[in-house]
């Protein structure tokens, strides 16, 4: 219990730091959201009126504290560009990115676990090396390039989906999944490659241990040995990896959302940075940070659960 409380406190501290860093960044980079809204030919007095209306004439420290107190109350502020509450804008898009991330995670697990075990079982063989080489190749491509190749291959050549034909998840859920399947795959593949490598290495190590020999001697089938015993132990370092994977999926989704034209949180982040929309950017960054830190926390708890021998500070 104490552990949980401590972790939650560190969560708050991390979020605070993130918000400070973001605020600091915004005060350093040039670019004024008001000029972007009103255009380059706007009169100076009109600019001043809008700045005051948006609270941009406050001193930086004041502005940060005012935003922070609002955030603590659940008031995420109003987007400078769209003049609508930030909460609504994010609420519309967060589910999209979450579905994308979830699907990527599921695909990563679905692809890498069987492959990892298979490669461990057949390690040294041609199949193992071929799979290893493919995984290497996938890992060596910049993610935007992988995305573009995917759009070309699955969208234009194989015509499995229509690039740009995003379907709203509330309108037609099955077709929505059908559309985000491919961007999810583009995110999942490089991450799968990393997991396969780890799992394979870990499983190979486990296959050499005593309890495996014992199990085999007792007549257990190879499948049972692998999936029943080896996997349970080999998966532990991999689960630790999943915390990092979640962070990777979120940062990967930013570029993938651009390439596949998906109206998620990642695209909103990029466009709101470009329009210097401080309330929107701050809240988005906080959301992302929250999810990443929570994922790490979940991973740590899961590890404790699976193997109480591992003591996590």
């Amino acid at each position: 219990m104490r552990y949980l409380v401590r972790r939650l406190l560190t969560l708050v501290l991390t979020l605070l730091l993130v918000s400070l860093l973001t605020f600091g960044a915004f005060n350093v980079i040039p670019g004024d959201p008001v000029s972007l809204i009103l255009g380059t030919e706007a009169r100076a007095d009109r600019v001043a009126v809008l700045r005051s209306h948006l609270g941009l004439d406050m001193r930086p420290g004041q502005r940060y504290l005012s935003w922070l107190s609002g955030f603590a109350r659940g008031d995420f502020g109003t987007s400078i560009k769209y003049s609508t509450p930030v909460r609504g804008l994010i609420a519309a898009r967060l589910p999209v990115t979450l579905f994308l991330a979830l699907l990527s995670l599921v695909l990563t697990a679905a692809v890498s676990i069987p492959l990892g075990v298979y490669c461990a079982r057949k390690h040294g063989s041609i199949q193992d090396r071929a799979i290893g080489a493919t995984m290497m190749a996938v890992l060596s491509m910049p993610n935007f390039f992988l995305g573009v190749v995917f759009v070309w291959l699955f969208g234009l050549v194989l015509k499995l989906f229509t690039p740009g034909g995003y379907v709203d998840y509330q309108a037609d859920f099955p077709r929505f999944i059908g559309y985000i399947l491919f961007p999810a795959l583009a995110i999942a593949l490089p991450n799968s490659a990393v997991v396969v490598k780890f799992l394979r290495g870990s499983a190979i190590g486990e296959l050499r241990s005593d309890y495996v020999r014992t199990a085999r001697a007792k007549g257990a089938s190879e499948d049972r040995v692998l999936y029943g015993h080896v996997l349970k132990n080999a998966i532990i370092p991999v689960i630790a990896l999943f915390g990092m994977i979640v962070a990777e999926i979120f940062s990967g989704s930013i570029i993938i959302e651009q390439v596949f034209s998906i109206p998620g949180v990642g695209r909103l982040l990029i466009s709101s940075i470009t329009s210097r929309d401080f309330p929107l950017v701050e809240t988005l960054v906080m959301y992302i940070a929250l999810i990443v830190v929570l994922a790490n926390l979940a991973v740590d708890i899961a590890i404790q659960f699976i193997d109480p021998r591992i003591k996590v500070r």
Partner: protein, 495 residues
């Protein structure tokens, strides 16, 4: 003799029959998806200032007058062109009979008065010259100016909206061919047909969706997939890949791409240096390399589309001459070489690519130019407002169809003079032209002003970048304007 006449008649009929058969028959209805690079910043016409936004809002709103495809102003909300008093201070309009807003309400003089006054209060360009607007009866409007102005008509393209309507930014209402249907931020803007539009037969389509593309690459992918029906692309080579399913049309972007030289940077204050750069940089090579040969070279900050005022003699004023360039540099004292930085906005690939070509071209005369990419907000803040740069590449357009909006920047101290240009002779010429009542003399004065800028090599003028419009086969009717507008009312599905 009769036989010949019969023959002529026969061929005439044949010709007509063939022409009729060849002309696509117009099918009314249908919907299209238009790809746009930036979404509307505001739906309220008095707040929207981004050129891209105004281009789309052109379909929802109309002013007393509006531009046609040739750049001429034709009456829209007004029934006919105004009666102008002989001293050029009073413009009187009659509201078009039967014209209605999208909400069914008839347009009255009171709406026009409200619109002009509201727009003027938001400091809409040019309307500060209005002294008063009077509604005379239900359908006549009298506009009185503070000073005589022969060229006030272009400013009356400002949108006419229903009086006291407060929701223009969320549910805009105008008189245009399309009415607002819905707006999903960052995704799309949907317009539907205005069934009671005053121009008969228009619009042809029932629905138009302006889809926001995250970047040009996403746009191209969507076009390849066929999920977009119309788009404006910068790259001719890319457009050529779409030839199979799209008709490709080149048009002018109606802005002048130029290498702007900040005269607060010492070398650029010297006209010889500016001239040297002009002789070394070859717009033809840029058009060929960056735009695959499609583009209109210019020698002046005025667009070729402003046919009456554009001085085409200036286009080759600085024909490529490396020896002249080197000599001018040496005269100015930079024989050992010159170094400067070109700041370009990273979101405009065409300007970044042009910068790369210019860097290569300038190497030939011993000038080393470095490129510094910045993002758009940084460009506006640092270069345009802060004037903190040495050279930059950007396309400069005019807010409306008058030479004033293209040349006004060069006046000393003008708010748009982000390159610190100052020339007393030019200031005098410009002021004189503004006051000149005779149209012919005015044209000549503006041309003289352009010649002055050219001989002074104020900036290096490159081209009017060609916009490549791609329209899916089966669609027809898109017309180009010399202004930044995307008029979708004339597009139709051919049978």
């Amino acid at each position: 003799m009769a036989k010949k006449k019969a023959l002529v008649q026969f061929f005439f009929l044949l010709f007509t029959a063939v022409a009729l058969a060849a002309a696509p028959s117009i099918k009314n209805g249908g919907s299209i998806v238009v790809a746009v690079a930036t979404e509307p910043d505001h739906l309220d016409p008095y707040q929207a200032t981004a050129a891209d936004t105004r281009a789309i809002l052109f379909n929802i709103f109309e002013g007393l007058v509006k531009p046609d495809a040739d750049g001429n102003l034709v009456p829209a909300v007004a029934a006919s062109l105004p009666t102008i008093s002989s001293d050029f201070t009073t413009y009187t309009f009659t509201v078009r009979k039967g014209i209605k807003f999208h909400n069914g309400k008839a347009v009255t003089a009171a709406d026009v008065k409200y619109s002009l006054e509201t727009a003027a209060s938001t400091k809409f360009p040019g309307l500060s010259a209005i002294k008063s607007v009077e509604a005379v009866g239900a359908d006549k409007v009298k506009i009185t100016l503070t000073a005589p102005e022969s060229d006030f008509l272009p400013y009356l393209t400002v949108a006419i909206v229903p009086a006291l309507y407060a929701d223009e930014n969320t549910a805009p209402i105008g008189t245009g061919p399309f009415a607002f249907d819905s707006f999903t931020p960052q995704v799309q803007l949907v317009l539907k047909k205005n069934a009671s539009y005053w121009q008969k037969d228009l619009p042809r389509l029932d629905k138009v969706t302006f889809k926001l593309e995250s970047d040009s690459n996403a746009s191209i992918l969507d076009l390849q997939a066929g999920s977009v029906d119309f788009a404006s692309i910068a790259d001719n080579a890319v457009a050529q890949q779409l030839k199979g399913s799209y008709a490709i049309q080149a048009s002018n972007s109606n802005a002048v791409q130029q290498l702007d030289l900040n005269q607060s940077f010492k070398p650029f204050a010297d006209a010889r240096v500016r001239k040297a750069l002009s002789y070394a940089i070859d717009p033809d090579e840029i058009i060929n390399t960056v735009n695959f040969g499609v583009g209109t070279r210019v020698g002046s900050p005025v667009i070729p589309g402003l046919k009456a005022f554009y001085d085409s003699n200036l286009t080759y004023a600085y024909k490529k001459d490396l020896d002249k360039a080197k000599k001018l540099l040496a005269d100015a004292g930079y024989a050992s070489g010159l170094k400067f930085t070109i700041t370009v906005p990273s979101n405009y690939k065409v300007h970044v690519d042009t910068a790369q070509v210019i860097v290569a071209e300038l190497q030939a005369i011993g000038v080393q130019a470095d490129i510094d990419q910045v993002d758009w907000p940084t460009w506006i803040s640092k270069v345009y407002q802060g004037k903190d740069y040495q050279a930059t590449i950007i396309s400069v357009d005019g807010a409306n169809l008058s030479p004033k909006s293209f040349l006004g920047r060069y006046v000393t101290g003008d708010s748009g003079n982000f390159f610190n240009y100052s020339n007393k002779d030019f200031d005098a010429l410009f002021a004189q032209a503004g006051k000149e009542p005779d149209a012919k003399k005015r044209i000549e004065l503006y041309k003289k002003a352009q010649r002055l800028l050219s001989s002074d090599a104020a900036n290096v003028y490159i081209q009017d970048i060609a916009g490549i419009n791609v329209l899916k086969r089966g669609l027809s009717g898109y017309t180009n304007y010399p202004l930044f507008v995307t008029d979708v009312s004339t597009i139709y599905y051919a049978k």
